[in-house]
């Protein structure tokens, strides 16, 4: 089975590196990391991800603005995008994340199991 392509846009380099290691360790995913919010769109254009995880608070640009840029681009307006953020708690969004006001959320800290469950659920949709 072809590995699903995951793009993670987050300024926390250590976090993205660990997520990449763990997800790729499963053998099911190919992960691309982008630590600069403004580079997210160009990274996505080169990777063509099946799913995008997006941080909300980043020093160069806010996650919601990046989301808007993706949604305005016909190449990515159908790609599932999940906010992976410390701003929400698992009490609010559950272990597999939830959709709030039309946007999908997953709370940090997150286990690989939770990430995988979230990816599967969003790709199934």
């Amino acid at each position: 089975m072809e590995r699903k392509k995951v793009l993670i846009v987050d300024d926390e380099e250590q976090f993205t590196r660990m997520v990449k290691l763990n997800l790729e360790e499963t053998g099911d995913y190919s992960v691309t990391v982008e630590n600069k919010g403004r580079q997210a769109l160009s990274a996505a254009r080169s990777v063509k991800p099946d799913i995008i995880f997006l941080d909300i608070i980043m020093p160069d640009i806010d996650g919601p603005q990046v989301l808007k840029d993706f949604r305005d681009d016909p190449l990515f307006n159908k790609v599932p995008i999940v906010f992976l953020t410390a701003l929400v708690s698992q009490s609010e969004v559950g272990e597999r994340g939830a959709v709030i006001a039309g946007n999908a959320f997953l709370a940090k800290p997150v286990t690989t199991e939770q990430l995988v469950a979230c990816i599967r659920e969003n790709l199934r949709k």
Binding site: E12, M18, V19, A86, S89, S91, E92, K108, P109, T112
Partner: protein, 435 residues
């Protein structure tokens, strides 16, 4: 006195006596006397009706009246008139009785002399005047006493009203004081919430990101480090647990400070409570906790955020379960009260609060050891916990109260007389047109 003219009515059937008396008065030098004769009581009465008279000489043996009755009849007709009884020697005793009955004096016919007659008339008139003055004084006194009594009654009434007013004012003051204390407590609570809320968002972002890195790192190491090394596995387990504990605290903080909108819809409380009970069923069985459930089927639907209220029930039931580690009885009741009983349980905090119609009560009772009385006031304070060593964050009940206040509901925790704790959650149902 020489100018004074006295009119006397002489009621006497013996004409001789009458003439003697008239003659005596004619000779009186210090005042002039006009004598009117009446031979019977009837004539005398007619005369009294027609003419003004200053005194009456009254014989007690008249052809148409005899004895004391005669005095009574004249008195009845002319109560203010002095009466001098004329008596024979034989009926002197009766004359004395007549004086007792109201006659001013008596004269024995056999001993008539001018000086005595004149003195008798003058004294009789003066005594009568004195009596009159005394009566008037008494009447005046009675009027004054009556007036004073009315004044006192009025003063008493106004004093009573004043006392009532003071009592009322005192009562209002007490209510105002209670409200002030409540408001003060709410302000303190709000200030705490503001501080905690401000901390929460900062802490959440700053702490959860490193936690996310640690957790991912631990997961990676768990896969890569050989399992044969028990201390490494143990250490990684500790780190993972530590991350989870830290995350729980941060999560609690975020929940506590949650400013997210409530997702309100009309719900029956019963299924929400049933779900929380179902989630804990395994725990009840494990701890030998006997559940007694009484849910009134008639309770009205209320406006709640189902998930948040489920979280409230779960938290309260877990507390009860933890209080009965060695087993016990758990009682869960849901019922509603209306009218005065509802208002008694949920009194209005201020005039702006709409009037409630019904109060839906969820009552959870455990048979555990109860909460020490000195801790009851603090159990809703953020970070106050009796379970620190078991990983308690002290945010559970603070969150519960926060959620309930967002719903306009209230919570009361009391100790049961028979031991254990009683928690009552009170949801208001407002009258139509209210909130």
């Amino acid at each position: 006195m020489g100018e004074q003219k006295i009119k006397i009515l002489l009621i006497e059937d013996d004409a001789a006596v009458a003439q003697v008396i008239a003659a005596i008065f004619r000779k009186a030098t210090d005042f002039s006397v006009e004598v009117e004769f009446a031979g019977t009581l009837q004539q005398g009465e007619e005369c009294l009706r027609k003419k003004e008279v200053d005194a009456v000489f009254l014989d007690l043996t008249l052809p148409d009246s005899w004895g004391l009755e005669t005095v009574a009849k004249v008195q009845l007709l002319a109560p203010d008139l002095p009466i001098i009884v004329l008596t024979g020697i034989d009926d002197e005793a009766m004359a004395t009785n007549a004086v007792r009955a109201g006659a001013q004096d008596y004269i024995v016919k056999g001993h008539l002399d001018a000086g005595m007659l004149v003195r008798s008339v003058r004294y009789a008139i003066e005594r009568k005047h004195a009596e009159e003055a005394l009566r008037r004084a008494r009447d005046e006194l009675e009027v004054r006493v009556e007036e004073r009594t009315i004044e006192l009654r009025q003063a008493n009434e106004s004093l009573r009203e004043e006392v009532e007013e003071r009592k009322h004012a005192e009562q209002e003051l007490r209510i105002a004081h209670t409200k002030l204390k409540e408001t003060q407590a709410q302000l303190v609570q709000a200030a705490k919430m503001q501080v905690v809320g401000g901390l929460a968002s900062g802490v959440a972002h700053e702490v959860k990101n490193p936690l996310a890195i640690i957790l991912q790192g631990v997961e990676y190491l768990e896969k890569k480090i050989p399992r044969e090394e028990p201390n490494v596995t143990l250490t990684l387990g500790y780190i993972r647990n530590a991350v989870e504990r830290a995350d729980t605290i941060v999560r609690g903080l975020m929940d506590f400070a949650s400013i997210s909108q409530l997702n309100i819809s009309m719900q029956s409380l019963a299924p929400v409570l049933e779900k929380a009970l179902m989630l804990l069923k395994h725990q009840f069985d494990k701890q030998h906790i006997l559940l007694n459930k009484e849910i009134d089927g008639e309770i009205p639907e209320i406006a709640i955020d189902r998930n948040k209220i489920e979280q409230v029930f779960l938290n309260l039931l877990m507390n009860a379960t933890e209080a009965m580690a060695q087993g016990g009885n758990l009682s869960v009741k849901v019922f509603s009260l209306s009218g005065g009983k509802a208002r008694e349980l949920l009194p209005r905090r201020d005039n702006d609060e709409p009037d409630i119609n019904v109060c839906v009560v969820v009552e959870i009772e455990d048979s555990g050891p109860g909460i020490p009385a000195d801790m009851l006031d603090r159990i809703f304070d953020p970070f106050f916990t009796t379970k620190r060593t078991q990983g308690g964050t002290g945010l559970g009940l603070a969150i519960v109260r926060n959620i309930l206040e967002m719903h306009g509901a209230r919570i009361a925790v009391t100790l049961r007389n028979e031991g254990g704790t009683r928690v009552r959650v009170l949801f208001p149902v407002y009258k139509q047109g209210g909130a």
